[in-house]
Amino acid sequence: MISCDTCQSQLSAMLDGELPPNETEGIQDHLATCPACQREWDELRELDCKLVQAVQLPVTVPAKCEASLAGSIREGKVRLERTHLGLSSRERLARRWSLAILALTAACLTAIFLIPGSKWSEDDRHATDHNDVAGPVIVGRLVRATGRVEQILPDRAEWQTVSVDDMLGIYPGARLRTGDGALCELETPDRSVVRLDAAAEVVVDRSNQIQLVRGRIWCRASTESNIELRLNSPEAWTPDTQLATFTCPSSSEIQCSTSNNQFSCCSNTNNQATVELAVGNFKCAVAPGESVSIDASQAVQRDTSQELINKIWQLPLLAIDAQSDSELMQVLRPLLASIGRTKAMHINEERLRQLGPLGAIPLLTYATVESAPEQIELRRRAVWLAADLADQRSVSLLNKLARDPDAQIAQKAVEKLSSLARQ
């Protein structure tokens, strides 16, 4: 039996239909036996009627506001940076770039003009100003990362963390390293892309000049410029110990790695000219679609590179922003395709499994993002494979898939969730 106080505290919610059915029943039972509460209820309903009639906003008002805003925008009263029209991620990035450059230019100018006793001549000032505007001072920006990325500036001693949201990007000559399990992607002002595998280290001399100190990177040169790559020996790193050099031609992809005095380079695009890899005076050509490894004694090993398999390590990175960037789909679709259940599929599967729990994330992301109905088989395969790999980090994605319209996928996700919960 409920008290009058409890009853009256629930009347308002009952009026708005926000009480669960069993509580509503209890209140109604009480009202039937308690005239005081019944009177409260009647008064409340009366008040509600009055309010419903009196407190109204005409339907046309929001539309009027919208029209008036549109008018102001047309007449130029509101200055928009094309934002209300929707910016693509490219445009957004370009905007970030211009802001970063602007901020740096402003910082430099302030420093020059404000530092007391500055010996800069009028001409020098113009020169600095000109340089900053003509060529950006930053050589790259961190676009996405799956973990901690650090940089050390040329004249500093300590590592500092770089985050994706940083206004100021990567400075010329900065050394950049990724932690364990932390992949990252950089973009240069001219739109070249460089991806670092976990535990890799590079020195970004200029936006189109990169030294690989340790680990593995992949880069795609923009349509406008080549990327010069220098591979260093990780054992004794000094600025002069570079051992191999090559150029990634514009609009093509190259992956390279360095370990134990061995360098390897694979040219991933099929439509580009041969890449020349130079180790000291020794030069060797890397044909498109070919992978070449050279050790310190200049022994050459050639392999026909399998572009897709070479890209598998990048999958966790591609899972970030997968919705707006279709690369994850492009890489995973052929990897998951059954190709008549041949050996290739097993090889691909094996390589995906090697990613470990980290690999479950791109697979599950793929399953949530893929919307083409004919790809249902691939989605199922992705979820099946991921279910073997997933750990706690995949819980939120599994939760999403547990509500998947496809019953098999939903069931698999639910099973995996419950097995994770038991662990």
Partner: protein, 176 residues
């Protein structure tokens, strides 16, 4: 390694807001402005100004998840500017006696609205806002809780309290 955090961030990044749907937000922003400015005409201007500022600073909004707090904040700033500019009288000083002194019992229908509004304006600000919100826009308690960034139980408490105060106010007026 904190992939966990990064993947958690994914939906937020995806949901980056490119366009502001004015129709969707209008009523709740209006209720916020009116509860601060205590005037329908000022509220209309302030709501428009809020959307104007929101559209201009849209690129600063990183994720759709933050849109509630962001819009509420802009609306609040706009209203504070309005109050400073026009020296609009604050609600806490709403004078019910003055209203009661006006010829009573002759409330025509369009005056009924003014009359109730006067009582609503006399409520404390959070109760004022929730009443306006509730009657301007059909929102569930959960939706209101999300917009106001309070617990669902708080929504219930505020509505109960607001209705009680309104009822008492109207009752006291009858007796006078």
């Amino acid at each position: 390694m904190d992939l966990d955090r990064t993947t958690e961030k994914v939906p937020a990044q995806i949901a980056e807001v490119d366009r502001l749907d004015i129709q969707q937000w209008y009523r709740r922003v209006y209720a916020r402005c009116q509860s601060l400015l205590l005037s329908a005409t000022d509220a209309e201007d302030a709501t428009q100004e809020t959307f104007m500022r929101a559209i201009v600073s849209l690129p600063e909004l990183r994720s759709q998840l933050a849109i509630n707090a962001w819009l509420r904040n802009i609306a609040r700033n706009v209203c504070v500017d309005f109050i400073r500019r026009q020296q609009v009288r604050r609600a806490d000083t709403a004078d019910l006696n003055e209203f009661a002194a006006s010829p009573c019992g002759r409330h025509r229908e369009n005056e009924e609205h003014e009359h109730l509004m006067h009582h609503i304006y006399a409520l404390p600000e959070p109760l004022r806002e929730i009443i306006l919100l509730h009657y301007y826009e059909e929102m569930t308690y959960d939706q209101m809780a999300q917009w106001l960034d309070v617990a669902r139980s708080t929504v219930n408490e505020r509505l109960t309290k607001a209705r009680l105060l309104l009822k008492q106010g109207l009752c006291a007026e009858k007796l006078r």
